[in-house]
């Protein structure tokens, strides 16, 4: 059994892979631009506050632990799903993400997860310190799986429980079992408990091309959420799903989501570089930063999909990186927590076209929770009739470690 497959990057050309590896150890300038918004930022439950959520690297980089564990409750598993095949599919889903940083030649950046055995936990959303993967009846209307995640909203320090063991206070006098020793403080945004619920009623298969949904593809997508990633729209406008980002919110009867695409790699790197205070260009990437403004009066535009794509492989091709305009810097400003800035980590040596997709054209509408939901986080595939894509400019090729500030970019009638 192969529990730790290497990443399949067959969708990337050998030349481009080589360029990444070649520049992987290149010295990079320590440029730290504004924190641009992207599809990794998640709006917290409290409106007007947004932050990345991610696992604390110390739990898996050898500082206080080598891996985080997940467990499985096979109760309610469909009879036609083989338990061993399911466990293998899930572990491969974890492994393919964690392998993305192997070329860095440093302690893991992306979380390492290992199977920790079985559990009797039945609720994926329970905050119990167990990352439980369970089977639940999620109805018969096509929901395949869902991944609730709990993160800290303020720092918390582990303690020793009354019966020994490490516990993490979560407020209101509650605490949960937590890995690592007591006395470790975890910052706000730290993911502390996730679960994945697979729908018992869905037709599951263990391959692509047959009459069902591939377990490993859906598991890999859900594990992306478990790592802190939101949805991507890369691949959405084409029927061919071969280049779909793993984090596209749709699955079909192929196994195309099994292999993270360049967009997924860039997204998970962006999150874990940023939350660990590391240079965004680590690994030889280059970075494009800028700000989107919209409308005749050039208001800062939030939640706009900004993507860089390589011309010959195309808008939905294998060399696409997407983000969403916004910014952590906007916290506390009434009704406008974002300033429309963005940050894209791209491959060096490649010329890109920058394009925006305006997902919700009503950029000047009064604040509403619906305004956020359809953009940066959940429903970025909404079928708004006036969704449009603008090709804004061509940039590059960039050098390894280069940070290119393209300044203000106007859409929907704005000329900065």
């Amino acid at each position: 059994m192969d529990w730790k497959p290497r990443l399949n990057l067959s969708h990337l050309s050998g030349k481009l892979i080589a360029s990444v590896l070649l520049f992987a150890l290149a010295a990079t300038a320590a440029v730290d631009p504004v924190q641009g918004g992207d599809n990794l930022e998640r709006l917290s439950i409290v409106p007007l506050e947004i932050r990345d959520i991610a696992w604390d690297r110390r739990l898996y980089d050898g500082t206080i632990g080598d891996a985080v564990s997940w467990r499985h409750n096979p109760t309610n598993k469909p009879v036609d799903v083989n338990l061993f095949e399911f466990l293998t599919a899930v572990q491969k889903g974890f492994a393919v993400w964690s392998a993305l940083d192997d070329f860095l030649n440093m302690p893991p950046l992306i979380p390492e997860f290992l199977f920790g055995g079985f559990t009797t936990v039945t609720r994926a959303g329970a905050i119990d310190g167990i990352n439980a993967i369970v089977w639940q009846n999620l109805g018969t209307t096509g929901i395949l799986a869902i991944t609730p995640c709990t993160s800290l909203t303020e720092p918390s320090t582990t303690t020793t429980g009354p019966f020994g063991g490490t516990r993490l206070p979560i407020g209101d006098g509650r605490s949960i079992p937590f890995p690592g020793p007591p006395g470790v403080t975890y910052p706000a945004g730290t993911i502390i408990d996730c679960g994945i619920a697979f729908n018992t009623n869905a037709p599951w298969v263990n391959s692509g091309g047959s009459a069902g949904f591939d377990m490993q593809s859906v598991a890999t997508h859900e594990i992306g959420h478990l790592l802190g990633l939101s949805h991507s729209t890369v691949g959405l406008s084409t029927a061919d799903s071969s280049d779909d980002a793993t984090m596209i919110p749709f699955a079909d009867n192929t196994d195309n989501l099994r292999s993270p695409k360049y967009e997924d790699l860039a997204s998970v790197f962006r999150t874990y570089l940023r939350t660990n205070g590391l240079e965004r260009t680590l690994g030889g990437f280059a970075t494009i930063v800028g700000r989107i403004q919209a409308g005749p009066d050039c208001q800062n535009a939030t939640g706009v999909s900004v993507r860089a794509y390589e011309a010959t492989t195309g808008f939905e091709g294998s060399l696409v990186v997407e983000t969403f305009s916004g910014s952590n810097l906007r916290q506390g400003l009434p009704h406008e927590p974002f300033d429309g800035s963005f940050e894209l980590n791209v491959l060096p040596g490649v010329a890109y076209t920058l394009a925006t997709t305006t997902l919700v054209p009503d950029l000047t509408a009064p604040f509403s929770s619906f305004r956020f939901n359809p953009t940066t986080i959940f429903s970025n595939t909404k079928t708004e009739e006036s969704i449009v894509t603008d090709q804004l400019l061509e940039v590059g090729p960039l050098s390894p470690g280069e940070v290119l500030d393209v300044g203000d970019l106007g859409i929907l009638g704005c000329t900065p």
């Binding site: 439950i45 209307t141 995640c149 919110p249 929770s369």
Partner: protein
């Protein structure tokens, strides 16, 4: 490095219609079949023929308040809604429903796909009673809440959960039609 070849291109692609095609195609298929379709992984497809009969309460209303509570080891958010129009169930002035997730203590739980509502949001709610819960439960949680939005062009109220944007009235008529058949 200075910007190279800064070219403003007013080119636009019609992604919207393509998305509609994808979703309409999805909606036309039964969930038990995966062939030749894309299904929204965490949402599936809302099917009024399924949701309407299952709901014990269907109403259009405005969210007036919310609060979070512990429910065992989970966090739930309870919403109060002022009913503007009741389509099924006991007519009243208000109702209360819950969604999993929310912020409480030092933590927050996010369920991808579930909306987080604030006061003033208008919704159509399809809910069922669950004696084990402190409030009504939207059908499949995600399929029981239909956000109502204002279309930017003309301010018309629209919903967008069946593969394409449609007027609120058109959507409600579809609900009434199903109710009338039963």
């Amino acid at each position: 490095m200075p910007l190279q070849n800064r070219i403003l291109l007013p080119r636009r692609t019609l992604i919207g219609p393509l998305l509609c095609l994808v979703l309409v195609a999805s909606a036309a298929l039964l969930p038990a079949k995966a062939q030749d379709t894309r299904l929204e992984i965490e949402k599936g497809v809302i099917q009024l023929e399924d949701v309407v009969p299952r709901a014990t309460s269907i109403a259009r209303g405005i969210v007036t308040s919310s609060r979070t509570e512990w429910y065992g080891q989970s966090i739930i958010t309870i919403y109060d809604v002022r009913i503007e129009e009741s389509l099924k169930g006991e007519p009243g002035r208000s109702l209360r429903f819950l969604l999993p997730g929310g912020r409480l203590g030092k933590v927050q739980t996010i369920w991808p796909g579930l909306p987080r509502l604030t006061s003033g949001d208008e919704i159509v709610l399809f809910a069922e009673a669950d004696s084990s819960l402190p409030a009504l439960r939207p059908i499949d949680f995600i399929h029981g809440i239909v956000p109502v939005r204002r279309r930017p062009a003309d301010g018309a109220r629209v919903v967008d959960v069946r593969g394409k944007a449609e007027s609120l009235e058109q959507f409600l008529n579809a609900v009434r039609q199903i109710l009338g058949r039963r």
